[in-house]
């Protein structure tokens, strides 16, 4: 088991074509930590996802299919083995 961070297809060109990365719970203890590991391994994603150190407003992040904004601690929500993190652009709706 491991923690998986899924990269959406439009961002894969900035991550050397990778569709996901695996982390061990030792690599990151929170959702924010897992995203930091992602952009460290694939620096091309950093400017796409962050501006002035903040996650861009139209980037949505999900932990096990739940919007991180609804979790206790939000981006500081803790991770455990087997967790699935997904990044999805926030531009659907209506």
């Amino acid at each position: 088991m491991a923690i998986t961070v899924n990269i959406p297809p439009p961002l894969r060109p900035y991550a050397e074509g990778t569709d996901k990365i695996s982390l061990s719970p030792a690599d990151a203890t929170t959702v924010a930590g897992a995203l930091k590991v992602l952009v460290t391994r694939h620096p091309g994603l950093n400017d796409r996802m962050y501006t002035n150190g903040q996650l861009r407003p139209f980037v949505n992040v999900y932990l096990n299919n739940e919007d991180v904004r609804f979790l206790d601690g939000e981006f500081d929500a803790p991770l455990k083995d087997g967790d699935d993190v997904a990044i999805i652009p926030a531009v659907g709706g209506g």
Partner: protein, 433 residues
């Protein structure tokens, strides 16, 4: 008739491309709906300098009364191929409703009678599916709170496109039936609209299908502008002082404004000075909440709880832009309870003969509340946008309506009814509390 493959038509010279609504970067026209630099949503950008000399009031008025009379302002390369009869809905002078809610100069833009599926979604779907065919897509779909489901299913059927429609599992039965009947693949998802939408985003990425409200969203949303053009033309080529619009994803209110601005840019009307007012249900009020609490970003609502399913989007894609427009135009946003929604569905029906769905009840109730708050003044010309038909949400209003009197087919029984038990006449509350 010679059949033209829409996918072979070169790009319209009137379309400049796609533009990020956050950073302004230009992108080519494609089925990517967001800026790869910052995830900002993309919007269709036009060469207005090329459009202006091509259009005139006379030209538009000489064309059939449907949304395609405005085709120079829509993002197709060729002629439309889907939804040819959409739009051209009535703008009704609503004096009786106006008297009841305290607005002397009130109009109702009635998209409850749009063709073919009785909601304003027919406008957006006509553009999205015509565009899907230009992209050569054969499978389309949507995440929907109901009206969009009906419209995608019907228009896809008529266009011979395969459709996958994903809806929250608590949707009204009439809206599910009104989708399945067209032969669409309807999938009921155990979750909120926002969860359905997230799943559809993943499906669109995975299968490359055209989801009208996701990867076709920049084109889809342009269809809503036609409601704005029609309002301005129907008022005699001018814009009203106020527009009250329901908000779910929050796109419509902004596109009505964009429609007004484009007519002005083409020299067809004076610069608009309209204030935009947004209407939501209290059980799902992320946008009105952000306006009232003066927050730039809305707080998403995890579990919407309202009878108004069609506005039950907890994380509206255009929430930021809708709230910004409302503030900058001098408008406001409000939200109302389920009881107020039911009462105002009946009020609209009882005063104007217009049976709108729950979202119509929201819009009327919010307009009344804004008058009571002094945010809309009685003398200001105001247009209410009614976006869907009450036949789709009958259960929600059934409980407040009187049951019919039952008699035998005998005149004395009818006469007795008139004396003893005439059906109650519903009276609106006074406008000023």
């Amino acid at each position: 008739m010679v059949s033209v493959n829409p996918a072979s038509i070169p790009q319209s010279p009137l379309v400049a491309g796609m533009k990020c609504r956050v950073c302004g970067k230009q992108w080519p026209v494609s089925t990517t709906n967001f800026c790869e630099d910052d995830f900002g949503p993309l919007e269709v950008d036009y060469h207005y300098d090329r459009i202006k000399p091509l259009v005139s009031r006379q030209l538009f008025e000489s064309r059939p009364n449907n949304m395609w009379r405005w085709k120079e302002f829509l993002p197709l390369n060729g002629e439309p191929t889907v939804g040819l009869h959409v739009g051209g809905t009535p703008l009704v002078k609503a004096d009786r409703l106006g008297k009841a809610i305290g607005i002397e100069n009130l109009w109702v833009k009635n998209d409850a009678v749009n063709f073919p599926t009785l909601s304003f979604k027919d406008r957006v779907v006509a553009v999205a599916l015509s565009k899907a065919r230009e992209f050569g897509l054969e499978t389309v779909g949507c995440a929907s709170t109901g009206n969009l489901a009906n419209s995608v299913a019907a228009n896809a059927a008529a266009a011979g496109l395969k459709s996958y429609i994903l809806v929250p599992s608590d949707l009204e039965r009439a809206k599910v039936l009104g989708t399945s009947v067209y032969g669409a693949n309807v999938i009921s998802v155990r979750g909120t609209y926002d969860e359905v939408n997230r799943l559809c985003t993943q499906i669109a990425f995975h299968h490359g299908w055209g989801f009208v409200n996701i990867n076709l969203r920049p084109f889809y949303a342009e269809g809503s502008k036609t409601m704005g053009y029609e309002i301005a033309q129907q008022l005699g080529w001018r814009t009203p002082r106020n527009v009250v619009s329901p908000m779910a994803g929050g796109a419509l209110i902004g596109k009505i404004s964009k429609g007004f601005n484009e007519l002005a840019a083409a020299g067809l009307i004076d610069a608009p000075r309209t204030s935009f007012f947004g209407a939501q249900a209290t059980g799902c009020n992320p946008i009105s909440g952000s306006v009232k609490e003066n927050r730039e970003r809305h707080k998403p609502v995890r579990k919407p709880d309202t009878i108004c399913k069609s506005l039950a989007i907890g994380d509206p894609a255009d929430g930021f832009f809708a709230a910004k427009l409302i503030r900058e135009s001098g408008g406001w946003a409000e939200d109302v309870s389920d009881d107020e929604i039911r009462e105002c569905m009946a009020l609209l029906a009882g005063t104007e003969g217009i049976f709108a769905e729950t979202a119509g009840g929201v819009t009327v109730a919010v307009a009344r509340k804004l008058v009571r708050q002094g945010k809309i003044r009685p003398g200001e010309e105001t247009v209410l946008c009614i976006t869907g038909n009450g036949l789709k949400t009958q259960d929600s209003v059934a409980e407040i309506l009187p049951a019919p009197a039952v008699i035998n087919p005998q005149l004395p029984e009818f006469q007795a009814l008139l004396v003893n038990g005439a059906p109650p006449v519903r009276k609106a509350e006074p406008a000023m509390a």
